[in-house]
């Protein structure tokens, strides 16, 4: 089922006719109030016929003063209506499931799939709301060709990283990791104020932000209720994104929320409940295996274990703890069942002039770890549409509000529970207090800290979001419309993180009760006046849009740290702390643009679109403030048999191409001047300043030139619709934080850099309605993308800061490291190939611009990715199955196991490390057990930077299965209840992969992989 949606209901326009003939005009709409194009209008009395234009309008000459119209088309049900000369009518037709006439929302306009020239992927509400998700971005996984979507971990609220068509800019941070180029997010026409930045300031279990999880954080999109979304459109090529000019360079994601429908007032209630458990993880060693490993390590090292903390000889697990106890700590902490409950009520209705929708959702997710932690949110969405009786004025108001409350653990150590010794004693004593000593031995150091203490470090995040958009238009004169789009978007976060006395190690009194209070507020408003001109010229329809845009963004953060509360129960009070200190940060950004777009469709065959945009951003100095962007797109519909139902194989064919320049001002404000700010505190009563940046007065826009060709084909009576696209994005004027050695005083400086990065690739998608009968329907949707990223040119790379980071001709996301050569069967240690191809235990690290023994080990970019959806419907039962797949190389579990620790030290390791070298001659997978760490064991220490810590992370995951049963209603109920369904769903059901580690999506090992969820839901429509 395809549901069509528009932003603006167009008015009936009369067209001046000079002759004295009988004439009538009208507009075709469907039951949702959306205009329908390409419907054939004929007269029962014969002769004249016409077709509705892309705004659904038509005008027809009648044979007699009153006549009967017949509307027909492949995508609509036949309708007849009587009409008299001079009338202006609205013809309501019922749309059939037809891909070509599906409305696609673009920036500042809309079109149908038929006339779409740009590369746009639409995800409709069924595919979003059916999944038991708290974050709408996760619903995009595997659905959008050219877009990668990854959850940073499986806990509720976690950030989701999104990238459209690859990385355009060289942008490693100080540790050589990439920051991804984010697309622009627009919600109901308003740029979403926080965009996709993480909104938290403090660490928590959801937001470890470790070296392994750079993008960790709390996602601002938790505030947008997936149930309130009508559709999400992802704009990719120049044609689609150039209207967003400077900010469209990395793609645009448009989120449109639901609106009311004409007709009887309808109440829709939905109740869902689900349970989640963590997915498959690797088993850890039991006590027997672990103690054997430990003893072996000490024997290999030739040292005796003792009880003096701080050194590798410290071994309470061997000397104090009970060797007969074997605990599965991972299961203890992460093996619980999380409960997810969601209730949604939507009320909608209206008439031709006014339509409304009110919706509200409550959702609560608990965590898989023990304790009373939860993420809950209440959200409210409303939409009001109105048009005046004379239909010249129309208005669309959308309001989204949500409140989110997340309680979790303010320590990231929780993921360290994997590593706690399996014979660690019971965590609680008989009175329920945390245990801090065993057998007379006190747990003084972190190595033996009671892991349950992690849970007594509470964290709370409260978020409030308001997104309000008003879109009003007024028909000034025939073919000319004035429109204004006004929006306000705000998101405020309130955080609290505390160390309780209960959770503190009693032997370390350095840690006192502390609590930190943070706020993080984003505000943004936008005003966009526009003029739209619309006229038939020759055999075509010309539409011209001119507009301006003014935007103001503001972000303010405060953080107050307090210390010394007298009681754990007072930790939420600032007043209760004798010691407190505060810091704040503030940033502001203004943006303006003049833009225009001209679109001409000739004879329903040739489509030409031109758009331009001139943008000004306060992020750049006066000389470089403005940038020009634009695009040209063209399409040729070479076959379109919509109106003649001839039985040919190809029913529709369109070739399309586009070229254009888009940009980016994705950098922080005021990098073009040297800034100083006050330093907290005072020196003997005097305030001080510190410089904030190295400045670059010449800083200006980044630009990306995009080229795309595509073909769209409709086959088998348009039941099979396929699209193939090829694209190439060239970024040679990048806006980067050029990494500098710190001898310059700072780690980086904002710069425009002309290294050339090419992103190119193929994207294929297919929609096939295999069977489409009354009782049985089966359809398949599938997409696949083959991206390629290459650093094509980088002048002077050998003497730049990137000499050992990038290689010209390889991907920006390349892996440089040592080539792993296996375990030496004589010495029992890892070996690597050096530059000469010899096996050595300690290769030479890169330095002074030379790679030395570092080698190119491959690209971490996905080779291909996509998704397959199956929809089956038989009578009252329907079944959806969605499978996501991705092929890439990624870090495996060994990267975590060997990062900063050794196998044989006082922490548990996965059971597969049983396959280690023990005696000379052993052909083992892993090196010998040892307790010697760091600099004295370089071989072990370098392993995470070798190819041995990476492997294939290709996976195919049954992301989602949903079975819906339409309940048979008793006759006496049918009066009140129009529809009732019961659904059973499963999410992340199983994964096919050869990946070694916990999960190929989140990668690594010591984390919470995506949860497996089972869900039951009831939906009733009144």
């Amino acid at each position: 089922m395809k549901i069509i949606y528009t932003i603006i209901s167009f008015l009936v326009l009369s067209i001046g006719v000079a002759s004295a003939q009988y004439r009538a005009v009208g507009v075709l709409k469907n039951q949702n109030g959306e205009t329908i194009s390409d419907v054939n209008i004929t007269l029962i009395s014969g002769n004249n016929y016409t077709t509705s234009d892309r705004n659904g309008r038509f005008s027809i000459t009648l044979n007699q003063p009153c006549d009967t119209l017949v509307a027909t088309g492949v995508h609509v049900k036949r309708v007849e209506q009587s009409i008299c000369s001079g009338d202006s009518v609205i013809l309501i037709v019922e749309t059939l499931n037809n891909h070509l006439d599906e409305v696609v929302v673009l920036g500042y306009s809309q079109t149908t799939q038929r006339y779409l020239v740009g590369s746009v992927t639409k995800i409709s509400k069924e595919d979003i709301a059916n999944q038991p998700l708290g974050n709408p971005l996760l619903a995009l996984q595997g659905r959008v060709p050219g877009m990668t979507v990854s959850a940073t971990n499986g806990l509720p609220g976690a950030a989701v990283s999104i990238q459209v068509r690859g990385q355009n800019a060289i942008k490693p941070d100080q540790h050589g990791r990439h920051h991804i180029d984010p697309p622009l997010f627009i919600v109901d026409g308003i740029p979403f104020s926080p965009q996709n930045q993480s909104i938290n300031q403090y660490q928590s279990a959801i937001s470890p932000r470790s070296s392994e999880n750079v993008y960790g954080g709390i996602s601002p999109f938790n505030s947008i209720d997936p149930q309130s979304i009508e559709s999400i459109e992802v704009l990719k090529d120049a044609e689609a994104t150039a209207i967003y000019g400077s900010r469209g360079g990395n793609g645009v994601v448009l989120i449109t929320t639901k609106a009311g429908r004409m007709g009887k007032t309808q109440l829709d209630a939905k109740l869902d409940h689900g349970i989640s458990r963590k997915g498959k993880t690797m088993p850890m060693m039991n006590t027997t295996q672990y103690l054997e490993l430990r003893k072996e390590a000490y024997a290999n090292d030739g040292i005796q274990p003792d009880l003096r903390p701080g050194l590798n000889t410290y071994a309470p697990d061997l000397l104090v703890f009970d060797p007969n106890v074997s605990q599965d700590w991972e299961n203890y902490f992460l093996g619980n069942t999380a409960q997810n409950t969601q209730a949604n009520v939507t009320l909608s209705g209206g008439n031709e002039n006014t339509r409304f929708l009110l919706g509200s959702t409550f959702r609560r997710d608990t965590y898989i770890y023990p304790g009373n932690f939860a993420d809950w949110k209440a959200s409210f969405n409303s939409n009001l549409r109105h048009q005046s009786l004379d239909k010249r004025f129309s208005l669309n108001l959308s309001l989204l509000y949500s409140h989110n409350n997340n309680t979790s653990v303010g320590t990231t150590d929780i993921i360290g529970v994997y590593r706690r010794m399996p014979n660690y004693p019971d965590l609680l004593d008989d009175q329920g207090n945390l245990v801090w000593s065993y057998g007379g031995h006190d747990f003084i150091t972190a190595t033996v800290a009671n892991p349950l203490s992690y849970l007594f470090h509470p964290y709370e995040m409260k978020t409030t979001m308001l997104n309000a958009g008003l879109n009003a238009d007024y028909t000034l004169t025939e073919g000319l419309k004035g429109r204004v789009n006004i929006g306000y978007s705000t998101l405020g976060g309130n955080e609290w993180s505390a160390y309780t006395n209960k959770g503190s190690n009693p032997f370390n009194h350095l840690v006192r009760r502390t609590a930190t209070f943070g706020t993080n507020d984003f505000f943004s408003w936008i005003v966009e006046p526009q003029l739209i001109f619309d006229r038939m010229i020759s055999k075509g329809n010309l539409e011209v849009l001119l507009g301006t845009s003014f935007q103001w963004d503001n972000n303010r953060m405060t953080s107050i740290r307090t210390e010394g509360h007298l009681d754990d129960n007072l930790l939420k009070s600032i007043t209760a702390a004798p010691i407190s200190s505060a810091t704040d940060r503030h940033s502001e950004y203004k943006f303006m643009a003049v833009f225009g777009r001209a679109s001409y469709i000739w004879d329903r065959k040739l489509i030409t679109n031109i758009s331009f945009r001139r943008d000004g951003s306060s992020k750049f100095g006066p000389e470089n403030r403005f940038g020009n962007f634009g695009s040209i797109g063209a399409g040729w519909i070479f076959i379109d048999q919509a109106d003649q139902n001839q039985n040919r194989i190809i029913n529709f064919g369109k070739l399309r191409g586009s070229w254009g320049v888009t940009g980016s001002d994705n950098t922080s404000s005021f990098q073009y001047i040297s800034r100083w700010s006050p330093v907290p505190g005072a020196y003997q009563g005097q305030m001080g300043y510190a410089p904030q940046n190295l400045f670059n007065a010449e800083l200006g826009w980044a630009s990306t030139t995009k080229l795309e060709f595509g073909i769209d084909l409709g086959l088998l009576e348009n039941r099979l619709y396929t699209t193939a696209s090829w694209y190439r994005n060239r970024s040679d004027n990048q806006l980067i934080n050029y990494t500098l050695p710190t001898q310059t005083g700072f780690g980086s400086v904002a710069m425009n850099w002309n290294a050339l990065v090419l992103n190119s690739g193929w994207e294929l998608s297919l929609d096939y309605r295999i069977y489409d009968y009354q009782k049985f329907r089966w359809s398949i949707g599938a997409n696949i993308s083959f991206p390629k990223n290459v650093l094509k040119r980088f002048d002077g790379i050998k003497t730049s800061s990137y000499a050992t980071t990038y290689i010209v001709g390889k991907s920006l996301n390349l892996l440089l490291g040592y080539e792993y050569a296996g375990v030496n069967s004589v010495t029992g240690v890892f070996e690597y190939y050096n530059a000469d191809g010899d096996k050595v235990p300690v290769p030479t690290s890169p330095s002074s611009g030379q790679l030395n023994d570092y080698k190119y080990l491959g690209s971490l970019d996905p080779k291909y990715y996509g998704g397959i959806q199956n929809q089956l419907r038989y009578k009252d039962l329907s079944l959806d199955i969605f499978v996501e797949f991705k092929s890439r190389m990624g870090a495996n579990f060994l990267r975590h196991v060997y990062s900063g620790s050794v196998v044989g030290g006082a922490s548990n390791v996965p059971a597969v490390l049983e396959d280690r070298w023990r005696n000379p001659g052993d052909d083992a997978r892993f090196m010998k057990a040892t307790t010697i760490d760091g600099s004295r064991n370089r071989t072990n220490q370098l392993f995470p930077r070798s190819s041995g810590a990476y492997g294939d992370a290709t996976y195919m995951r049954v992301k989602f299965v949903n079975l819906v049963w339409r309940l048979p209603l008793m006759e006496e109920w049918k009066e009140n209840i129009s529809d009732a369904t019961l659904s059973l769903g499963g999410y992340n059901l199983f994964t096919l992969t050869s990946y070694e580690g916990n999960d190929p999506e989140t990668l690594g090992f010591y984390g919470v992989p995506p949860l497996r969820t089972f869900n039951i839901g009831l939906q009733v429509k009144f």
């Binding site: 202006s88 003096r308 000034l476 003014f550």
Partner: protein, 462 residues
């Protein structure tokens, strides 16, 4: 037949949209708001310019232990040499003790980073003060004199730890980002130049000891000359400090590191912004919060063996925790981790060191008796018997050097630097640490610096 008429709204709207096309350029003009100043404003007048200099004194707050002014010059040479052991500190500290510092050791990276951050601050202030109009000549001299010392101090410890280091004297990153390491002699030359200029700028100005002053420049210069073996020059500078009459040794060794100490030539008051009772970073790090905690850093035997039990310094400057029958000795020059009952500032240079410098220089200059007087001054204050005048000259040099170890243990890497300047590092450390190699005397240039500036070279052995 209906036709829309052009009405007032039509004209208004068209004009409105067209006007907004024109009017927009000003919209994106934005001034710095939200608590930031442009550098033009910072160096416009003396109030703001002084705040920029004060920022340097506050800046150390960000670098507990990691920055040279935050205790790094004590802790890391102490670990790398024979003073400290990381009993209850992270594995990255252990790398210093084991002289196997990895190039990506984050502590090592922080020393380098924070030193160059502070050098940038000095350079920015020097460039800015040059442009400041609304400032008295006296104030300008005072501020320039202060910050030159801060730069010299950073370079002195940088070159002691790393050998050749890039000599950065401006804020222009385009000129600096590919600068290779500068020969140590040249770095020393700059240090001496900075300190002698600082002396000239500050000679007329009476500064508190909590700010860099004429005598702190002089005391540091004495130390620099001593490192270079320029004993006559060192003696001259040390003499200026001692003879100024502004400083006197505290009778009670407990009071030497208190905020009231008369012995202090230059000390930093720690910016305890959150008012937690913290006095100095070294106190916070070295002094355990109670007797059941293993100190993070414990003193090694070679230090403990130097003292007789009656030595006041042993009694008051060394603390001890006994846990599970193991004795953990820790440095306790700064007495408090956190308290409000005793005020302590972080002392950069103090008079006792100048006595010891002068003693050594006098002896090397052949002034045996005078050297002995200086040495005995320090000994007597510690409650020890003075050496008699009949002592052998060579032996006296050993005594002076040993006294330096006792008086200045765990104080700005004094022991480590003495071994270096005397060329005794390898022969002293070899027997003590079996893993010692000839390259252990220098820390590695941090990996990131090498990665981002291909013109930098690594020290041997890393």
């Amino acid at each position: 037949m209906k036709k829309y008429k052009n009405n007032i709204w039509t004209k208004f709207s068209i004009i409105g949209v067209l006007v907004s096309f024109m009017a927009c350029e000003d919209f994106v003009n934005m001034d710095l708001t939200g608590g930031e100043l442009s550098s033009e404003l910072v160096f416009k007048d003396s109030v703001n310019a002084e705040a920029a200099v004060i920022g340097m004194y506050l800046n150390v707050n960000s670098g507990a232990l990691a920055s040279i002014f935050g205790g790094a010059a004590t802790v890391f040479p102490g670990l790398a040499g024979d003073e400290l052991f990381p009993s209850n500190a992270s594995v990255e500290y252990l790398q210093f003790y084991e002289n196997g510092i990895l190039t990506d050791n984050s502590l090592n990276s922080a020393i380098w980073l924070l030193a160059y951050k502070q050098i940038y601050l000095v350079n920015a202030c020097l460039e800015g003060l040059d442009q400041t109009v609304e400032i008295s000549e006296r104030k300008r001299n005072q501020l320039i004199g202060e910050i030159l010392q801060i730069r010299a101090t950073n370079y002195f410890y940088l070159t002691q730890l790393y050998g050749d280091v890039p000599l950065i004297l401006s804020t222009d990153y385009r000129a600096n980002y590919q600068l290779p390491r500068t020969a140590q002699e040249q770095v020393y030359q700059q240090i001496i130049e900075d300190l002698t200029s600082a002396q000239q700028y500050l000679v007329q100005i009476d500064q508190p000891t909590t700010r860099a002053n004429y005598y702190s420049a002089t005391a540091l210069l004495a130390k620099v000359y001593l490192s270079l073996g320029l004993y006559a020059e060192a003696e001259k500078e040390a003499n200026k400090v001692i003879m100024s009459g502004k400083f006197s040794l505290m009778e009670d060794v407990v009071e030497v590191f208190s905020a009231e100490s008369k012995e202090t030539i230059w000390a930093w008051e720690v910016n305890d912004q959150s008012n937690t009772g913290m006095q100095t970073f070294e106190g916070l790090v070295f002094v355990p919060t109670n007797t059941s905690v293993i100190p993070q850093f414990t003193l090694q035997d070679p230090i403990l063996d130097l003292f007789v039990e009656s030595d006041e310094r042993y009694v008051h400057w060394i603390g001890e925790n006994v846990i599970n029958g193991v004795n953990y000795h820790y440095p306790r020059k700064y007495h408090v981790a956190r308290t409000v009952s005793r005020r302590e500032n972080y002392i950069i240079s103090r008079l006792a060191e100048q006595y010891l410098i002068r003693a050594e220089c006098r002896l090397r200059d052949g002034e045996f008796q005078l050297a002995l007087v200086d040495l005995n001054t320090i000994r007597q204050r510690a409650g020890l018997e003075p050496y008699s005048a009949t002592i052998d000259s060579d032996l006296l040099l050993d005594h002076i050097l040993t006294e330096r170890r006792r008086e200045l243990f765990c104080e700005w890497g004094s022991r480590w630097f003495d071994l270096k300047r005397l060329g005794l590092l390898d022969e002293t450390m070899q027997p003590y640490k079996e893993w010692w190699s000839a390259s252990s005397g220098l820390f590695p240039v941090p990996k990131n610096e090498l990665d981002y500036n291909p013109f930098l070279t690594q020290n041997p052995g890393y």
